[in-house]
Symmetry: C2
Subunit: 214 residues, 2 copies
């Protein structure tokens, strides 16, 4: 099959396939002449296709996800963790001031109360932990202090969804399939969750302050 | 007070203040000479300061948020809605295919079961609704179909958090304060929620597949 055919059958634009080939995220096709190579569907691995279709995954992140997915020296938790860890994430500017200190204290208290010992152990090594601290610090600075009690409903919601997501991930048998499911559920699940939260807020606001819906 | 002093006391960089002045999101200072103007803290309205400190709010969105906050012709729900509506949001590429049709059907079924009549009424007029449909459609295309039952835990979590957030917003007395609280809670709350979700997933994965934490 030529690259153009592979593109047509997979729904991935030729330029994207070429880019991924150049970046060695996809194995090269079998060269049949000086200007042409043969590809088959297996060239477009499922995980790579998922990363392309999710969108907004930079090549460096895609490469790290693939490396984690295929690293036999990692156990299952480490593979999932390393793959999800590599996914793009809104970075938060970090500042060191009293608001940041207070935020770190409340976040640690929250993790402790939730029994999240893994998160406590990783702490500042984890970019996600640091983003959480920075977001809470920004709230402090703006005069909306969020202590661990205020954060608890958010943590509870996250914990419930995590059980739900891991149940789905466990339905898949191989480590590679599980990594793929984790990547898709993490990235697209975030968009689903944020959309539903905004819709729910509009609903609740309408319920409290609005006119009745006809 | 000179612009440099205002910057120091508010923690907002001079370049940002100048940019917002140029874009007329802030009222001009009182001119004291050909090259110098006097500013006071009231020039940097709380809401504008919040928008700057939250970061990643483009000027066009900030302008729309301010316009909504100050529009006396809107009732409270409409002001909150218009302000939050204007906040930046990860756009999802939209495609029309059978995956998108199936996604729309399941999303509508979900909103109906949740009793979200406002969301159903707004439907495709709402960018958030369209993002939700697109994210679910992407899941379908990748072979992770999400029907309304699979989406229900996400919607339930969102509904619980919306009650919590609106309780906080209602603690503020004036419409302007409420809009500001809604803006801050929506934007920073999203970062808090996504961080906690990733931490909770790591926790749950470690719990199921990992080694015990020392």
């Amino acid at each position: 099959m030529k690259l153009s055919e592979l593109s047509e059958r997979s729904g991935v634009p030729p330029a994207t396939i070429k880019y991924y080939l150049r970046e060695r995220l996809l194995p090269p096709g079998r060269r049949v002449s000086a200007t042409q190579a043969e590809y088959d569907e297996s060239h477009l691995r499922r995980l790579v296709r998922a990363l392309i279709q999710i969108g907004q995954v930079p090549v460096s992140a895609a490469r790290a996800v693939l490396a984690a997915a295929e690293d036999d020296s990692l156990d299952q938790h480490e593979r999932l963790g390393a793959a999800v860890w590599a996914l793009p994430y809104p970075a938060e500017p970090e500042e060191e001031d009293t608001a940041a200190e207070a935020a770190r204290r409340e976040v640690d208290l929250l993790l402790e109360r939730q029994g999240w010992h893994f998160g406590l152990k990783m702490g500042a090594h984890s970019p996600v932990y640091r983003t959480l601290v920075s977001a809470v610090a920004s709230m402090n600075r703006l005069g909306y202090p969020a202590d661990h009690e205020q954060l608890t409903p958010y943590a509870n919601a996250a914990a419930q969804l995590a059980v739900h997501d891991l149940d789905l991930i466990e339905m898949y048998g191989t480590p590679l399939e599980r990594v793929e499911a984790a990547v898709v559920l993490t990235m697209l699940g975030e968009r689903v969750l944020l959309s539903l939260r905004r819709l729910a807020e509009a609903e609740e606001s309408n319920h409290r302050f609005g006119k009745p819906v006809d």
